[in-house]
């Protein structure tokens, strides 16, 4: 893609659209690696805190003055898809103690990639539960590390979701083509849900 001239860029700024996909899973499952494999920038980090999510929504009396303030680092990457379309990938911790973040982060999300570590399958349960409750389309990406035990994919799916339409793919988060393939399948799944009158 050529670098647009400044004038054309200014004119197009009004047409620019940014969308996002959420990448989640347990600690150490490869969220940042997944984002970094396809992002055009080195994944950036930003912080979200509990108070900013809770204030104005919940009664903050219980938070004030104690030590429950939690800061969570979010990794994100960017893919410029064309002159007016940007896709952001947000890696978010999947532990349910970070659930305060998810509402905020999921607002407007197209869908989510849930990275599954076959050695710690239950790490992904909280986030799967949350996405199902929210009606957010998601894909299970089994991160197959070299040397890790290999599992039957159907068995993994059965352990995690009852809905057999939820796509499950093997994915090597270090490889761009593998990450891209997972995103394509997620997007196809999102579209399939929309065309059936579903979606969120």
């Amino acid at each position: 893609m050529s670098v647009p001239s400044e004038v054309a860029y200014q004119a197009r700024a009004h047409d620019l659209v940014a969308l996002k996909v959420v990448v989640s899973g347990g600690f150490g499952v490869g969220k940042t690696t997944f984002v970094g494999a396809i992002s055009e920038i080195e994944p950036l980090v930003t912080e979200a805190g509990m108070t900013e999510a809770a204030v104005g929504v919940d009664d903050t009396a219980g938070l004030r003055g104690d030590k429950t303030t939690t800061t969570v680092a979010l990794d994100f990457g960017r893919i410029t898809l064309d002159d007016t379309l940007i896709l952001y990938l947000f890696g978010t911790p999947g532990q349910d103690r970070f659930a305060f973040l998810w509402d905020d982060l999921l607002d407007g999300a197209l869908g989510a990639v849930v990275l599954v570590d076959t050695d710690r399958i239950d790490d992904c349960y909280p986030v799967v539960d949350f996405f199902e409750a929210r009606g957010l389309p998601f894909l299970l990406a089994v991160n197959q590390f070299e040397g890790s035990r290999r599992f039957d994919l159907d068995e993994i799916r059965e352990a995690i979701v009852a809905d057999s339409t939820v796509p499950l793919v093997e994915c090597d988060a270090r490889h761009r083509e593998s990450v891209k393939a997972a995103l394509v399948i997620l997007l196809e799944h999102i579209l399939a849900g929309r065309s059936q009158g579903g979606g969120s």
Binding site: V17, A18, E47, T69, L105
Partner: protein
């Protein structure tokens, strides 16, 4: 009952037990979290709703000469080309909530415009799919 259902049942049982203190997963120490909100005069609620992490912020023409200081100036400088709220927060090294409040202030003053569509039409998702395939 599959494995996840059993896991959820265990969780519900465990929920009755007192939870341990939350940990800080971020890089900044806990006591430095409140301090960034000094930049907003202590406000945690943006003047404008609906600013998402991916919402694009674009400075209005001529704003480089607006009488702004510190973080607000940096946002206007940065957003001479559109940047998302998350990118602004990352560049300024402030929490997302602080970036939201500052951007909403600037938008209210008409120094920046924000681009956010409420709905994502199906044609747009198809376009995303086509483009991702072509990557």
């Amino acid at each position: 009952m599959n494995e996840r259902d059993r896991w959820l049942a265990d969780r519900r049982a465990a929920a009755a037990e007192p939870a341990g203190p939350p940990h800080s997963a971020g890089k900044i120490p806990p006591d430095s979290f409140v301090r960034p909100f000094i930049l907003t005069g202590g406000r945690t609620q943006p003047l404008q709703d609906g600013l998402r992490v991916e919402t694009l912020v674009h400075a209005q023409p001529g704003t480089l000469f607006a009488p702004l200081q510190f973080e607000r100036r940096r946002i206007v400088e940065l957003c001479q080309t559109p940047h998302s709220i998350a990118e602004i927060a990352s560049a300024l090294q402030v929490p997302l909530g602080v970036a939201r409040v500052l951007v909403a202030d600037l938008a209210t003053s008409r120094l920046v415009s924000v681009h956010q569509q409420a709905e994502t039409p199906i044609q747009l998702i198809e376009r995303v799919l086509d483009r991702v395939r072509a990557l």
